[in-house]
Each structure stands twice: as structure tokens, then as C-alpha cells.
Symmetry: C2
Subunit: 272 residues, 2 copies
Amino acid sequence: MALTEGRLGIVAGSGTLPALLAEAEPDAMVVAFEGTELTLPEARVERHRVEKLGSLFKSLKAAGVSRVVMGGGWARPNINPLKADALMLRLAPRVMQAVKGGDDGILRLVISVFEEQGFSVVGAHEVLPALTAAPGLLAGPKPRAEAMSDIARARTILDALAPVDVGQGCVVADGLCLGIETLQGTDALLRFVGDTPARLRGQRKGVLVKRPKQGQDLRVDMPALGPRTVEAAASAGLEGIAIAAGQVLILDRAEVEAACTRHKLFLLAEQG
Amino acid sequence: MALTEGRLGIVAGSGTLPALLAEAEPDAMVVAFEGTELTLPEARVERHRVEKLGSLFKSLKAAGVSRVVMGGGWARPNINPLKADALMLRLAPRVMQAVKGGDDGILRLVISVFEEQGFSVVGAHEVLPALTAAPGLLAGPKPRAEAMSDIARARTILDALAPVDVGQGCVVADGLCLGIETLQGTDALLRFVGDTPARLRGQRKGVLVKRPKQGQDLRVDMPALGPRTVEAAASAGLEGIAIAAGQVLILDRAEVEAACTRHKLFLLAEQG
């Protein structure tokens, strides 16, 4: 049985989420891999090498951690086998296998390894439930019927991609797919959309749909939306953003809503 | 019964393909819509407004055209209803419907309309069969086993997208999807891939897979590859390109192969 109570360990990726998690649970122990850029003060964080997972687990256990949350952005680590400790060497075949697959493969492996070590793994949305949205229009003007059609088409495209473990975001304008999110993330997608030549795009605006992949484990790779994404969507000429209710973290919600209002860009949370 | 013999009409899109078609069939009549940028001399071309399809068909018939080939790149036309002729007005509801769907929707409509007018529609690969490739390594070094895995993964991703009418190209590196082709085309996809930050991409190279969508009508929207695509793939740091044998037009093959050799980039044609 995984424990549901006990001291929390925060495995911090990049971005602002780890700081929000640490703020919500001041007693939590924060660990991060070498090289991760954090907004937390370095004194609040214990750094570990990704090659020395054995010592990471030992530290967490010694500190009384029983629950772990992973939060923030993850770049694939470049692992130096010469520095691997005994546990990492044992895991090597599974790591190599996971690296071949999609992003979810490696993240699912990380969850399994934490669980095998006796930790329960919780999602950032469980530690910070207020950071997700209930269904409804969160900010900006009511979406036009055409925008609702574009949202539906973007969801169809993302659903088609779910079995191959690609795509947390998609932009559609007047039925035309202007971009699909890949490794580079949402902001890169929106820059790409914004660069669409006018002869192809015409007067079309478009919508961004952002939601987890079907079957995606939200405990590791939860989609997130912040003010920067709203600014990027506005720069790309979009008319709105649709997210999955309860399944997308909204970072700095007041500023997100203010940016939507400022740019007359709708933000809609949709069920399911 | 559609005629298989008779004078050819070339409906010219952008790029070099219309000129190759016109060279292969010197007797062909060449028509193009206003605004299309052609490499053919203007004297070789009869221009029509997209709103006046009736007069286009009348011209083709008066010139004895019975077979039509569409070749080159197509931007979605912006149609001015005030200029529409009687035929175009009758077609308007179907045009509006097709514009809502994917690219294939509008192109399928174009084929239907030509066929309803009594023309047979042939593919550029039928007029120029030598422009496609038989299976095998066309240029560059033999692909590594890892590159073959990446090709397989890219094909899986494109197959997943086929039912939603998106994607003629995909880039995968070490199992990671770095980009999926949308409206903007292959060169834009490759620029996007080349812009992937090093912290995400690491030392990964990657492959471009380019093939028609499953069920795509090659008569209208045949994928094409030219020297510029090879240069763009090299600039994006890829190690090779895989295309569908018999289903992708190779424009300027000698220069394509020379560019592959120069950049040590493989070009592989795959069955099916």
C-alpha cells in the first residue's frame, strides 16, 4: 500500500511550479537534479546527480519522505554511465528502453522506480488543487461558434495522436491545422504558428487546445498554462485557448486572466 | 467513362512542377489562377480568376482538353463572392463545406468538380513517372539501425494522423518527435526542428519521413521533394530522409542526390 500521508518530497523541474509546491507545503523536502534551472533559492534545495539515484532515494528516506511530487519542466537527461551508482546501473536496461519511446515512456519509468522504492507518487494538481479550473469560460469574450468548431477539430487531432504518445497541444484555424505541439513545448508551437506566412493563413485567427494526452499520467507530466502562454497565443494572432478542466495547471491565474482580458482572448475550460 | 487519351490541361500551382509537366507534354494547355507565382513564362499560361470556374472550364473545353493534371503548391484561395460566375455560385455551398475540413477536403472537391465537367483527372506522377523513386537507398550513407527505428516511429505517428487528414511529414530523433508537418509545409517544419534548443535536443540528429497521407488522392496533392528540402534537412541537423517509393515526386533528382552526398545525408525510398 502506498502511503497517502507523510512528509512530501518535491522533485523539482524547471519553471515556477516547484516554488508553488514548496510554498504550499513548507515542510516538504525539495530535491533537484544537477543542471535544472530553479526559481527556488538554492539553500532550499538538495541537488543530486541523475546518475546517482541510489543516493537520492537514501536522502529522501533519511529525511522521512514518503510521498513524492514531481513538478516543472523536464529535459531528457544526458546520463554519464561512468558516474552511475549501483542502483542506476541496475536500472540501465529499463532506462535505455524507455528513452527509445515517447516522453511518457521515460516518465512512467520514473514513477515506477519511485514506487518500487516505497514512495507514493502524487500529482501537482493533488498538492495544489486550486491550480486547475472547473468547466466554464474563465476569461475573455464568449467563443464564437466557429471557434468552438476549431476546438472540436483540434481535440480530434490530439485524440488521434494519443495512442502514439505525442501532442499536448494543437492550433486550428477555420478547420486548418496550423501546428501540433512536440518536444519543444507550447511556446515554441505558438511562435511557429505566428510565423505562418499570410498567403497561407489569410485572415484566420485560430485557437490553441491544450490538454493531457489520453491515458497520460498526470502525476508526472501535467500540462501547465501561464501568463507567458497567453502572451504567446496573442502574439500568434489566436482568438482563444481551450484547456481540459481539472487537468491543466494554471500558473499565476490572476495574471493569466488579466492577460486574456487585455488581449480579448478567451480562456475556456472544457469537461473531459 | 473518363477519357485516358486526349489533350492535357495543366492547372499550374506554384513551384517548378508545372514547368516540368509542360516540358513533358509540350502540346498541353497551361492554366493558372490569378496570383499564383509561376516559373513558366506568362505567355505559356492562360490566367483565370478562381471565382470564374465556369469560364475556366469553357476555355479548357474549347481548346480540346479532356485530361487535366494539377501540379505545384496550393494556397487556399480567398474567394470574392461578388466576382463569382454562375457555376461558382452553384458550387458555393460545397466550397464552403470543404473549406471547413482539412486540406484534402477542398482538393477532393476540386477533383469532383473537374470530373463532373467531363474531364479525367490524372496525377503528376502519371504524366512524369520518372519523377518518383523505386524502393532502395537513393543517395548518401546506409542508414544506421537507430535511424531505421526513428523512421518506423515517424511512420507510426503519420499513420495515426491519417484519419484526421493532417501530416505529410514528421521528424523523429532517438524516438522523440521533433515536429509534424502542418499547413506551412516541409521547409517550415525543418526550420522549426532546427530551432530546437540544445538542452532539449542534445546530440540527437533525426530523420524526416515524407509520404502521402493514407488514402490521400495523389492526383491532387502529391508530396514532393527538391534540393531545397535536402538543404533544409541538413541545416536542421538531420541524418537522413525517408520517402514513400512511387508516391513522392523528386524534383531535380540529380541535384537532390548531389546535395545528399555533399551533406552525408541518406535518402531512402521505402515500399508501402
